[in-house]
Symmetry: D3
Subunit: 246 residues, 6 copies
């Protein structure tokens, strides 16, 4: 039952949440979930290679371009709450201070998510240390958010939510273990449209389009359900825990 | 939705399915699932240490005792279809011939299960080679059952079902990775009653009773649901694959 | 230096070598290598789902279709020595007898390969037990082939060759660890043409075409060489061992 | 307390127990342990490369040479009970029949060992499949030996003994995890003398001499005991379990 | 020989050492070991959920309650040297400064322990990042303590001691590998009494009581010693290294 | 083709690069490569145990001795560009500041290496936390160096180079996975001579001399090339990626 679910997505850079979970986000929104996105940085240093190739690019011009693109993409996916925290990146770890930590705990306690999507923690992104730092950071904030003793004025302790990790760019090199395949067929067109907002990154659009197709093959094979065409994949931070075997 | 689900349980020895999945089986039956059990051996050589300590025990007397006990337990759990294939055990591997393989494929195609429960395949039971042999065997049969080219008269190819592995006796020594915790609170009393049928194994009854309590602690912690009291745990042969994140 | 290299490819079923190493084979042949292929089975039971859907299909008709297709594919790749050993499959393990073992050792000693390509051994094909059985089998034959004490009339001991494992169909589920990415750009058209010989398996043609594209992205990223467009990936049975760091 | 300990060593080939545990065996005997050795094969096919290079070598001549050498080595180590079961090797797996299994269970029940030394089971010998087969075989026999239900006339069930695995030839390639380092300083000269019995294998003598030196460095570093000069290393099949932390 | 052994226990929060090593500590003291405990924090933020539920709880009231409870528990276990360093927790990592590092090195060099017990380092506590931070911290301090070049006035370099890791709360989710099972039967009553000092945490008392029972089953099974009733389990930071196989 | 290759070696302490890659460095230089070395610290606190045993040793005297020794060693290996950054060690992590990070990125962009050699990242040095910190640090700098958005005046973005990890001192305890064996026979004498510069560390000279011999055994076995006598071993940060199978 997606209807009524609350989801918080924490993205290290401006486009991560689109490439890796855009289909799931759009599907959840379409089916009545309440989705919130925090974008920690614009990825000016680490994920804007193509923009920097443009004549006269500056940190500011790159940031503006990234912001414009990601806001368009968010609108296409149907996201209504998106925040840009504008942290530095490459490296991002030094920017994840106690203050930013408290800010994220506060956000978690406000959203009170059933589900948090962020970067993978089971493996290790082989080519992007920021992703690893963010994964560990979000995880620690979620733990603290659930603890009665972590007192932040105006907030209330959460109960344990579920966390899932994005599939990284180089899946097999990053020791990523698939935990959940999600059919995104109904949201596929939206995802493709959202990806196309990142004009300078044509090769990634094709890459993630084809990955959705391959994951579609996998989800059909594993589920036996032949109506699934496209899928996204996530790692599970925890085992499933509930009323039945899923 | 448990209602209407079809489940096949394949147990290496006469009591494995009770210790390790008795609560889940009872819960599934109670909620309208259709559960079938295949017991490959009576565990005369490998899992009847206490019965052999009785004066004058013979292979036949041990087998009779095991059969009587497990049938009582099955009745308490509400199982209506249980088969005893009476294979030798310790070691069981040599008995898993092509004929037995075809027999199990046939059974799978008759039951057409949504779910197969059997011994764990992700890790390795550190003290029971039979469990490892059975796990691999059931897995291979399920693969063949799904293949159009495996022609067995009077049967029809199945589509991919889900497989889950029992938690072994020495969890941590057997590299077992929990994939699914299932709340068995409503079926707990039944499981305890079923376990008590194995009179000669009092220490195991206490052991698995306490394990259900510990797993209850874990499922509450992971799910945030405080109404869960007792749980069983399984490994997942495959990632979840479906409409949403569970 | 591909020129003059001798390569032996051992394929469990009729099309495995095409999907998973067709580009590498064609490239090696084009550049002067001497490539030999052994196809252990036609995959009648395990890898011919679509052929069995045809009205009136029999084991013989399926086998004929598979053979015709794979011979066409082999011709397109430029393979001149291909043998069909026509073993049963699904399961194949029981067919890998001491006689077949001796036959393969003899073949290895005749070809005297620098390189053996076969199914992956580092991980475990999560959905195809035949692939795992063949991998272990080929590995053991290679070890015996290198041993002076394994006396087979008319043959001569080989020295240690290099072994590489095919990327399986469900890479991430099969614990596959990429060891070597090979640029197949110059042989890509040949591979696509060869794949198209397997008419009943259109979905696989698309699947492996897109995988070559994704692997192309990876090889560019890892090597820094932007001229690579398409790639295949293999696991390494052994570390590299030689004159320099590759 | 070595005094009074009973040890059973099961060696796949004629020299394995010398290269990999000769120092530990000699030390145990010297300190009052009761050591029994079973040599499953003479290693005629798999571990006699150098003997086969001799003019006119035959299976019989090689076997004789191996037997003579290993008996001399055993005598130097102080071994009084050594049995040669003369199984074929390369491959050995097919020879490990139910009959051989019963024979080894019987042997275990006769010796009633506190300790079994055999090939490693935690990792996988990357270049010697026989070693892996023997490890699994010995392990299964030990499990059966401990089971009341495994009835073999004239024998009595054992209680759980401890099992340790030999360090393989290519440690790092074989995923070997060191569990126990044993100081063999007092038995080092004996081990070197015993190794020298295998005249045709000079390179191995030097290899295992130097390994004892490197392991000596490791045991000093880990234990802080600077009197240790030479060591052997084993994997642990089980955690330690007893009165204190070792 | 426990008599005369020196042990240092480093606990992240006020009760960790009781739940996870209380039996071993009490047993070691009873048998003549010299045990010292450092409690890094009172766990006010991270491990006092139940105390915060009390009306009018403040950081100070929680801290006082925790301190009183843990001192009672320590007295029951027979601990004579216990220090409270009163660091902040949740997160603790930022508090593990160079000054605290030097303080711990100094402590290690004063105690000169044969054994250090602290949080597990082989796996990763899945729900408590503080535990992971402390494990790494203690490990690094021990390494530095052993190094001649780390000059701290009034102290003297130690030699390599042995380190063991606590079993975490969610063993199986935390990739914990058991290295040592310790029989705590003779100290079990003391441990239960000590746990009962933490009045607000009744569910944990039951949890760790039952875990001691399960570990008792395991230690009997692995050691073959039927007199063991209750046990604690630790990971080994290093292989055993000494005179014999334990 | 070593000729013309550019290599950057980053060594945590003054002698690491000699023990672990001295043969490879000398060989590369001899064959026309351009090799640059950065030594981050003199290892005064962590790797000068023997020097501190000398009467009257001070931090300055130890540093001078280390510097003199390592410069002699570098000269013997033929290194012309070596820099000493004189960071503190034990622990080194706090010294790896953003400024040092920028300094290393600048160095990488100046050298523009095809190959970076540094400490291993796949495993974890079990006894030297500095090595782990440096490995992660160098890796992150290499990633940033390749990113267009990381703007450092006077430098130009690099393209992806290859990274290899040193074999640590306790290979098997450090989860080191060999990726590449390099024949160093032609440079062996130079390596031995260079090692002998570290006069106070006689035991290490013998240790690494014997390790080169053992690795020689391995490289012959794996490559089948009997002319190799001595070797060094490295882990691969990435799979090979190129024109053929190496």
């Amino acid at each position: 039952m997606i209807q009524g679910k609350k989801m918080l997505v924490v993205s290290a850079h401006a486009a991560d949440y689109v490439w890796r979970s855009g289909g799931t986000i759009a599907k959840y929104i379409k089916n009545g979930a309440d989705v919130h996105v925090v974008v920690l940085s614009f990825g000016v240093r680490g994920e804007s290679n193509d923009l920097w190739k443009q004549e006269g690019a500056t940190a500011d011009s790159v940031k503006e371009a990234r912001k414009k693109e990601t806001m368009e993409a968010a609108a296409i996916l149907g996201i209504q709450d998106i925040e840009f925290w504008d942290l530095p990146d490459y490296p991002m770890a030094p920017a994840l201070t106690p203050e930013v930590q408290e800010r994220l705990i506060r956000k978690i306690r406000e959203v009170r998510p059933d589900i948090i999507l962020t970067h993978d923690k089971n493996g290790e992104d082989v080519l992007n240390p920021d992703h690893n730092a963010v994964s560990q950071f979000v995880f620690e904030c979620s733990i603290q958010s659930n603890s009665n003793g972590v007192r932040i004025e105006g907030t209330q302790t959460t109960k344990q939510m579920r966390l899932y990790g994005f599939e990284p760019h180089q899946t097999e090199l990053s020791k990523f273990t698939p935990g959940s395949f999600i059919d995104i067929t109904e949201a596929y067109e939206q995802k493709v449209a959202a990806m196309k907002c990142f004009k300078a990154q044509g090769h990634l659009i094709e890459y993630y389009t084809e990955r959705a197709f391959l994951r579609g093959n996998h989800i059909r094979r594993i589920s036996g359900n032949q109506t699934y065409k496209y899928a996204e994949c996530f790692s599970n931070f925890f085992p499933t825990a509930g009323e039945e075997l899923y």
